[in-house]
């Protein structure tokens, strides 16, 4: 009877683990390899050696659009150090809307998308369940923060980029 109970517990645990794909701080960031608006492929590993803010957003997501000026200020402050990059991962499905928003918002950091809306592969890999969502990855590609916004994000990045 005990063995049966253990078996049931094990099956339940394995099942819940299979369903819960959420990432944690300390995990290796899943690979991202997607097209930029120019048609060139950019991989997350291309940014190895830098602290990277992966920003999951979309032109149709109002809170994401509202967050862009803050990201712009952070980028302006830290991009010249050569140790920081933002990687925008869009959940847009229409290239035209994506490109127009990049232009309208004056986004200058790298942008990638598979144009698959909520079927986006990196959104699935990173367990994105709502937007905006972000992850901060360190120089070795390990996750050091998940879903920080506003002052918390700014302070965290200031701390990471000025303390070293």
């Amino acid at each position: 009877m005990k063995q049966l109970l253990l078996f049931v517990l094990l099956v339940t645990a394995l099942h819940s683990n299979a369903q819960n794909k959420t990432l944690a701080v300390g995990d290796q960031a899943p690979a991202i390899s997607l097209l930029q608006p120019s048609g060139k492929t950019l991989q997350l590993s291309d940014l190895h050696g830098k602290i990277v803010l992966i920003d999951f957003w979309a032109s149709w997501c109002l809170p994401c659009v509202k967050e862009q000026p803050l990201l712009k200020a952070i980028y302006k402050k830290h991009a010249n150090s050569g140790r920081f990059e933002i990687l925008g991962v869009s959940l847009d499905s229409k290239k035209e809307n994506w490109e127009k928003s990049i232009q309208r918002l004056g986004i200058t950091w790298p942008q990638v998308s598979d144009l698959k809306f909520w079927n986006s592969v990196p959104a699935r890999d990173y367990g994105v369940e709502e937007l905006p969502f972000n992850v901060v990855v360190n120089e070795e590609g390990k996750i050091i923060a998940i879903n920080l916004h506003d002052k918390a994000l700014e302070q965290f990045l200031d701390q990471q980029l000025t303390n070293k």
Binding site: W60, D92, E129
Partner: protein, 143 residues
């Protein structure tokens, strides 16, 4: 005095109920659960049902992509599409970009349907978004 207090409480409850209902262009009875629509699609019972996407992308199998209804062009496309559709036609519109309180598309689209006199229009009730409430439940999507 006790009765007066009870009557005031009752009035407040009624007022709150009416107000919360009135601020949206749809009523609770005009919401369709995702499972209801998914079951209809899976069992091929959508012959007499028009499923329209008024959000960023037509992700639901068999739905027609109108485009995000916060955009004036897409809203006009919705009006043009529905111009010759019978007013008693069963219609379901959906967005699913985000929860209703943040969605810029469902209100103008549903209001348009009401203004045009559609009597059998429903809004797909997507509490969070299409990922959580449709894809993750493995409901039928466009391939």
């Amino acid at each position: 005095m006790k009765h007066l207090f009870l009557w005031m409480c009752l009035l407040l409850v009624v007022q709150q109920t009416v107000f919360s209902q009135a601020k949206e262009p749809w009523t609770n009875s005009q919401l369709m659960a995702t499972k209801t629509l998914a079951d209809k699609i899976t069992s091929n019972q959508t012959k007499d049902l028009l499923v329209l996407n008024v959000g960023p992308d037509a992700l639901i199998k068999g739905s027609i992509d109108i485009g995000a209804a916060h955009d004036a062009g897409s809203l006009q496309k919705l009006k043009d599409y529905l111009k010759n559709v019978k007013k008693d036609k069963a219609i379901v519109i959906y967005c699913g970009c985000c929860p209703f309180d943040r969605c810029p598309n469902v209100r103008p689209a549903f209001q348009t349907l009401m203004d045009m006199g559609f009597k059998n229009a429903k809004l797909l009730d997507v509490p969070k978004n299409l990922k959580v409430d449709w894809i993750d439940k493995q409901y039928p999507t466009v391939q």
